[in-house]
Structures are given as C-alpha cells and as structure tokens.
C-alpha cells in the first residue's frame, strides 16, 4: 500500500481524477454562462442564485481550488521526474505517432493556469475592468443584484480580451483533446471495442466546449447579445 502511494501510477490517477473534476466544472460553468443568451434577467438571477448558496458556494470553491492545486502540484512532480529521466537530450529526435497536444500538456496547462488567474482578476474580482464591475440590475422580484450581463458584454467589446479568451479556450480544448482519451488509458480502460467511441467522445466534448465558450464573445461581436436598458 505504501508503494502505491509513492508510485508514478498513483500520481497519474490523481491527475486523471482531478482532471475529470475540472472537466465537470468546465461543463457546469459553460451551462451557467450560456444563460446570457436568455437575457439579463436570466443570467443575473443565476449569479444571485449562486451567491445565495452562501456557505455551500464557499465549500464548492474550496473544493475546486483543492482540485486545481492537486492537478498542478502532481503535474509538476511528474514533469520534474520525466525531465530528470533524460538528462542528455538527443541531437536529432522525431516523434513517431504522438500528437502535438500529447507532447505539450505541461505547456498548455501552464498557459491555461495563467489565463485562469487573469480570468478571476477580470470577472470574479473586478480588478481588470473595475469600471464595468460595479453595475447593478433590478430583478423582477425587486432585488438589486450585480449586473453580470452588462459586465460580460462590456468585457467582450474589447478585442484584446476576446483574443486572449479565444487563445485560452483553444488551449483548454487542445489540452482536453489529449486528456480525455488519456484518462481512460490511465484508469486501465483500453479495449478495441470502446477506443473509437472514447476518442470521438473526447474530441466531441472538446469541440462542444470550444463552440459553447466561444459563442458568447462571438455573439457579442455579431450583435446578437447587446446592452439593454434593464441595467443601471
């Protein structure tokens, strides 16, 4: 049992399970964000609903942070072990059947981490665009809540932010295009009967997430989503 805790295979299982939890978060986060297409009332009420969870929201956030930390710390441990496993590099080396995504997981992960920090500073803590962070909206039930709807629209009217977002979402999907199939292999699921489906499902999920997340800035740029008079 002790050997199990020290082994690289356990580390890989930690990567897989924490990664799967993060994918779960990505799906939930996207589902919530897509409410923007339902208009300011929908998304602002959703945001308030999350805040109303109170202590539960705090626990969810702590859980998410712990998951991210596990994923990152384990990846650093493994990447370091992998680097020291080949102290002298080849003069000439070709990859034979590996994909770019599979060879650049650490780099894409690092890019995503940098973006997550920026994204939190932008939409969660309002440090990037403080001028759009303090808007208020009056819900149908009369409660005054933070205006997420106009904050998102103002945010994505800035081309720099749209490009950053586009790059980050692309890196997330590149990361996932390897991660999902790889997770099954690490958990010991590799069977001729299911490999095709697993590969397609992984690519499909990565593509759906990309389209879903990008639909918001694209919708704003195309003018489908625009500022309403509902906000103050």
């Amino acid at each position: 049992m002790l050997g199990f805790l020290r082994s690289t295979i356990l580390s890989k299982i930690v990567m897989t399970v924490s990664g799967a939890a993060i994918v779960g978060f990505l799906i939930a986060h996207l589902t919530g964000n897509l409410l923007i297409f339902g208009g300011p009332e929908k998304i602002n009420a959703y945001g308030q609903g999350l805040r109303d969870l109170g202590l539960l929201l705090l626990f969810l956030r702590i859980g998410l942070v712990v998951t991210f930390v596990l994923h990152i710390v384990t990846s650093i441990y493994l990447a370091d072990k992998n680097r020291t496993a080949r102290p002298v590099s080849y003069t000439k080396k070709k990859s034979i059947q590996s994909t770019i995504a599979s060879r650049t997981m650490f780099f894409s992960g690092l890019t995503i981490l940098t973006f997550v920090v920026y994204h939190l500073l932008h939409f969660t803590y309002g440090i990037v665009q403080p001028e759009f962070y303090h808007g208020e909206y009056i819900l149908h039930d009369g409660r005054t809540v933070p205006d997420i709807y106009s904050m998102m629209i103002h945010g994505f009217q800035n081309p720099f932010i749209v490009i950053t977002y586009l790059l980050a979402v692309t890196f997330v999907c590149l990361h996932l295009s390897h991660a999902i199939g790889s997770a099954f292999q690490t958990l010991g699921i590799n069977h001729t009967k299911y490999n095709g489906i697993i590969k397609k499902a992984g690519m499909g999920l990565a593509t759906i997430l990309w389209l879903g997340y990008m639909s918001i800035p694209f919708g704003i740029m195309a003018g489908v989503l625009k500022l309403t008079n509902g906000g103050h």
Binding site: G3, R6, R86, S95, Q97, N190
Partner: protein, 248 residues
Amino acid sequence: MKLVLKIWRQQNGNSEGKIVDYMLDDVSPDMSFLEMLDVLNEKLIAKNEEPVAFDHDCREGICGACSLIINGVPHGPEKATTTCQLHMRKFNDGEEIVIEPWRASAFPVIKDLVVDRSSFDRIIQKGGFITANTGNAQDGNTLPISKIDADASMDAAACIGCGACVAACKNGSASLFVAAKLSHLGLLPQGQPERGSRVLAMVMQMDEEGFGSCTNTYDCEAACPKEISVKNIARMNRDFFKASLFGV
C-alpha cells in the same frame, strides 16, 4: 552508396561525448545497418583509430541487443524492425545519418553507442518469474488456456527488452517494457499466483530506476520493433490499482 555519418562518440561514462562526422563510400544497399558500421570500423582500425562501439548479438532481430537512434527514431525508419534487420536500401545515396545511443538516466552510456540496460534486468529480477512445482513437468494439456489469452500473452512475450520504448518516450518511461513482461506472465494460469505482487514489485523497481512516467503519447508503441501494444500499459495500470487496493 555514399553516406555522411554523424556518430555519437564518448570515451566512457564519465567523459563528455560529441557527434563526430565520418564519410563512408562504397556502401552496398544490401548491407544491414550493423554491417555498414562494421565496414566503417574496419576502415577506422586500418587507420589506427578507435572503432565505434555498438551493441549487437544475434543479428536476426530476436535478441534485443542492438539499439541506436537513427535519424531521431529508435531502430531507424523501418517499422517493426530492429537495427540489425534494417538494410541500407532504406536510405538514399549521399544521405546524412545521425546515430546516437538510447538516452535515459536509467540507461547510462558505457562507451559511444553502448548503454547499460541492466536496469531492465533488475526490474525482471523483481517479478519475472512464476511459481512451479518441482518434479516432472505436468501435461501441458491439463491447463486450459483460452485462445484469446494465449494470443495476447504471446504478443506481449514478443518483447525482446531492447529499450526502444524508453528511447522513444519523451519522458524516458519504461512502461511499455514493464507492461509487456507483466502481460506475458499475468495472462496465463501459471502466472496467477504472483500476479498482484509481481505488478507492485516491478512497477516500484521501474520508478526506483529513474524512468519517467507514462503520459500516453504512444511513441513507444510506434518505435517497438515487436509492435507491443499500449493496451498492455492499460492492463498494468488496472492490475496495479487492483493489487494496491485489494491486496496481492
């Protein structure tokens, strides 16, 4: 054929190595890659120079002694072929060929292109055996083995332990080698008594030797001269997980 060879030369494990260029004329396309190196060495010896050290033994693709990263690929450009079975007709006249040893901290260079692969032997010592009754061998037909398991076990047993998987892997992981040995024994009834303890011991030794972890890029599978499948790695992960959680 004329060739420009760029070969890694290193006096011993403690010295610095470097790539040295050699021009070789009159190479027959029917020579094997190792015969081409033999010709080069004869010329070097005639000039009173130190010949290039490289590993070889059976020269018929079954012993696992030969190695070499040829133009960035373990065992060279031909799929499912060891260096000794690779022929010069696979190269072009005037081509530049870079030849390097396997690179891994667990495979230290002994001299030139020769590396020490005894880390593999230590992994095998940890679990590459079965429990067998002493006395007369029993009748083989009394042990029913399904055709599917027998085939999968034999496919894994094709591993010659050359180390191309480690050399190809960007992480220097020995997962494919270890997984092949585990499937070879673990799929047969004779290998069942130690199936759990074997996977724990061999994986721990693999980690201890300083091999990297598997990131499922699958370059090992493509580099393997015996076409060992990465399915064996999934089986290793499964067995390791089971043995760790539920005991051996």
